[in-house]
Amino acid sequence: MSPIAHGLSASLIAVTFARVSPNETPYITTALIAATAVDLDHLFYIIRDRAMYRRGGYLGQLHLARSPLHELVGFLIVGLLCTLIFFVDPKLAYVIFIAFSAHLIQDWIVGKSFPLTPFNNTCIQFFALTLKQKALIDIIIILLSGVLWIIYLAVQA
């Protein structure tokens, strides 16, 4: 899924659950960052393996450009981090954990993943989706989340 779809949908789930109001900009910004920042790991692997991507293309291959943070290990690390944050600011812990988790789950469901990396490199795929289907899911999520963001901001205001 694209970072835009992740950012809009995962952060919306997080801010709605944590009852963040639209004037609490730091929480909304944190939710957006937590929902998208993990995708920065793609850049590292795309640059490192640029020769392979030039040959085979990028589309449908980005599951190979993920760090362990995108898998179960990342889930555990962020869970530990949020446990510590919870003692200082529970709302912040909710926002970070839910936005990050929703991002991971979306990636697991839509594409291929290596859940136990770096300890085991078994690849899994929930649904064998074509690029067209993935693009359609992306568009639907962006549109739906966009509408829900507008409603959320309007109702809360």
Binding site: G79, L116, F126
Partner: protein, 148 residues
């Protein structure tokens, strides 16, 4: 990963009960991942559940979906190590949402800490080829039913 990790002997009576129940029901030959998707969707919905009755209902359906994915895979010979990993991933993700929703209570906080143990046990299960996981969602369902 070549094999599906085996269940501990402590789970045998419970598995036997479920297996006999499995034989009695009609299971369509669908991709078990649809049940995973249903479980995950309902776990996200759990974040917004307001009453204990809604929570009990959601966890019950999540647990049934969790059972049906395995039952469908067994019935239609779709069992594979990859399927086991998908089940593992779905369970940990589902637990994460349920326990973060309950993190405002002491019980929820304890469950969240135990969830991290469960994630670590997922790695142990695959490494040792023995399935190990704490039945946390069952525990929280039982506690919610008693509270209700």
């Amino acid at each position: 990963m070549d094999h599906i990790p085996c269940r501990p002997s402590i789970a045998t009576p419970y598995r036997a009960l479920l297996s006999s129940l499995e034989l009695q029901i009609v299971l369509p030959n669908v991709n078990p991942s649809y049940y995973h998707l249903l479980g995950l969707g309902l776990s996200v919905l759990y974040l917004f559940a307001l009453t204990p009755a809604q929570k009990i209902g959601l966890i019950a359906v999540i647990l049934i979906a969790d059972w049906l994915d395995g039952a469908t895979a067994r019935r239609h010979k779709r069992c594979s190590p990859g399927g086991y990993l998908m089940d593992l991933l779905t369970d940990r993700a589902s637990e994460a949402f349920i326990f973060i929703a309950e993190a405002g209570t002491l019980l929820g906080q304890i469950c969240f800490l135990l969830w991290m143990v469960n994630v670590a046990l997922a790695f142990y299960s695959v490494r040792s080829n023995k399935h190990a996981a704490l039945p946390l969602r069952f525990a929280i369902l039982v506690i919610l039913v008693f509270q209700f």
